[in-house]
């Protein structure tokens, strides 16, 4: 049996064990005693403490996924619509960040002066939690939608900026010399030698960034509300609909994985072996 096949079997085994434990531990307790008045008021004793078993979640997931794009007013939209809102914000903020981080990273990587001049700013701005920007963003931009995009922008810019600068600064001197001895203009050198040489490092930065952006969007949407997967999770928690909470947690993981796979696919295209 090949390693891949064996790994798949073991994976499935783990999945079955975990789901099995989850399922058996979360059976509703048998109503042995009569419910107290308070419990009756709350609609049943088991409601508060019990996580729904996987069979229930799966059932719920099936019904949500069979109609992901329904829109029944501001508090009831399909999972597909919520994810689309989040993806739109993440990708807008992310590509805006790439548009600035990559050229700026090039400049920093090529010029020791710019590196030294900008480094203090980067060092101070980078460790700030992106959510700390939220109040300021809301105050300045006065629009919750764009503030969320700004928060994504600010959190995805650093890995791309730093990796681009690092990749560009560390292009092998031999390759720069090849460009020089062939009398390439600085612009052609940048595009035909430095960019392909630094591309794997730049893509690594882009991959880290998209991961962080997807982490941050959930929290940002919990704060600003309205739409998006983060808002959805929080809203379903307020509705005490744990089926939806668990389902959306899984969807967040799934979409995050797809984003990472997309970036790793691109990074494989620019990879080279020395």
């Amino acid at each position: 049996m090949s390693l891949n096949l064996r790994a798949t079997v073991v994976s499935l085994l783990f999945l079955i064990i975990v789901l099995g434990i989850w399922e058996t531990l979360n059976q509703p307790p048998e109503a042995t005693e009569a419910l107290s008045e308070y419990e009756l008021l709350m609609g049943g004793a088991d409601q508060e403490a019990r996580v729904p078993p996987p069979s229930q979640v799966a059932e719920h997931a099936w019904s949500e996924l069979s109609n992901p794009f329904y829109d029944a007013g501001p508090n009831d939209k399909g999972i597909g619509i919520q994810l689309a809102y989040s993806l739109y914000r993440v990708l807008t903020g992310y590509f805006a960040a790439a548009l600035i981080a990559i050229p700026l990273g090039f400049v920093i990587g090529m010029s020791p002066l710019m590196y030294k001049a900008l480094n203090p700013f980067i060092q101070i701005l980078r460790p700030i939690s992106p959510l700390a920007w939220m109040p300021l963003a809301l105050f300045v931009i006065k629009d919750s939608e764009r503030s969320a995009i700004f928060v994504i922008f600010i959190c995805s810019i650093w890995p791309m900026l730093i990796n681009t600068a690092f990749g560009v600064a560390n292009v092998r001197n031999d390759w720069v010399r090849v460009a020089q001895t062939h009398e390439l203009s600085p612009l052609r050198t940048a595009f035909t030698v430095i960019l392909p040489a630094a591309a794997p490092t730049i893509l690594t930065g882009m991959r880290i960034s998209i991961g962080i952006a997807w982490l941050v969007i959930v929290a940002a949407e919990m704060l600003v509300g309205g739409t998006g997967i983060g808002y959805y999770v929080w809203n379903e928690w307020n509705n005490l609909d744990l089926n939806s909470v668990i389902f959306s947690i899984l969807m967040i993981g799934f979409v995050g994985m797809l984003l990472d796979m997309a970036l790793s696919g691109v990074s494989r295209l620019v990879q080279y072996e020395e």
């Binding site: 031999d174 390759w175 010399r177 090849v178 020089q180 001895t181 062939h182 009398e183 390439l184 035909t192 030698v193 392909p196 040489a197 591309a199 620019v270 080279y272 072996e273 020395e274």
Partner: protein
């Protein structure tokens, strides 16, 4: 007298050494001439400044003082007129062998059509025997094959001067022999002027019209210019049968073992130029005077104006 094709005039290179009051003088006041079409090798112990000279010729490094004039113009910065082959091949790893050569050809003739660029590039790759593997990336090629790509790229751009910095230094002896043969072949078709660094005495004799010998550094100088008047075309197997071969070889080895150290730090008797030596002319029984095929370096090289 006409100006030589390339003249190195009063070349000096110093590095300011960390924490020391005195600079490191790599070499001081070097004068050299190279004629058009000449194949010149330079030998010296490591650290004597060979690469530094070559990089100055390439325009990648600047001398502290002095200068180099090629074809009537002073060298300032790198140029397509001077092709360089480095010891570590310097191929772009994300391009295939063919694309690496195309990279050079396109830079040299930006107005050529795509088809013409590719045809020209293929021709040179075939010349070095890489016709079958031109679509492979450098990582999929052996060291010898990579160096051939690098040589093909340099020759394909047809520079006026070709600079080779220990091009075979990292290769095993067998591969080195094969590529030396290819270098001879491609060079005899192009008649390019070549300046090559090597640490292999036999390689220098096989390839060069003239071998420059450098004393040990610091403060090195080019002490001797040894003429290799063995007939061309030269073949590795036959050349060692030639009665003159060991005369030249002994002279070179003797220099490297003894005189390179003894002469270190001294000045040339003619302050400017290395001493011209022809080990075969000194021989008591005259060697059959096969006129070298391309003996432009016959006349003494003291012709600086």
């Amino acid at each position: 007298m006409t100006k030589p094709f390339l003249s190195i005039e009063g070349l000096t290179k110093r590095f300011s050494a960390k924490g020391k009051a005195e600079d490191l003088v790599v070499f001081d006041d070097v004068f050299l001439n190279i004629e058009q079409g000449e194949f010149v090798c330079i030998i010296g112990h490591s650290g004597c400044g060979k690469s530094t000279i070559l990089n100055i010729l390439a325009g990648l490094d600047e001398p502290t003082s002095g200068g180099v004039i090629m074809d009537g113009k002073e060298i300032a910065g790198p140029s397509l007129d001077r092709g360089v082959v480095f010891q570590n091949y310097s191929l772009l790893p994300w391009l295939s062998a063919l694309q690496n050569v195309i990279f050079g050809v396109k830079a040299r003739w930006p107005n050529w059509t795509k088809g013409k660029v590719e045809e020209h590039s293929r021709k040179y790759l075939e010349m070095v025997g890489l016709g079958a593997s031109m679509h492979r990336k450098p990582a999929q090629l052996s060291g010898g094959m990579r160096q051939r790509v690098s040589i093909a790229r340099a020759f394909a751009t047809q520079p006026k001067l070709l600079l080779l910095d220990e091009p075979f230094g990292a290769l095993d002896a067998l591969t080195r022999g094969v590529i030396q043969d290819e270098l001879i072949k491609i060079w005899s078709e192009s008649h390019q002027t070549v300046f090559m660094i090597t640490h292999d005495v036999d390689e220098a004799i096989l390839l060069a019209d003239r071998i420059l010998l450098m004393t040990n550094g610091p403060n090195a100088r080019v002490a001797e210019s040894v003429k290799v008047s063995l007939p061309r075309p030269r073949e590795r197997a036959q050349i060692i049968e030639h009665p003159g071969y060991y005369k030249i070889r002994n002279h070179l080895v003797n220099f490297l073992v003894k005189r390179s150290g003894e002469l270190a730090g001294t000045k040339n008797s003619d302050r400017q130029h290395p001493e011209n030596i022809d080990p075969l002319a000194e021989s008591p029984e005259p060697v059959p005077a096969d006129p070298p095929a391309r003996a432009k370096s016959d006349r003494p090289l003291r012709s600086v104006s």
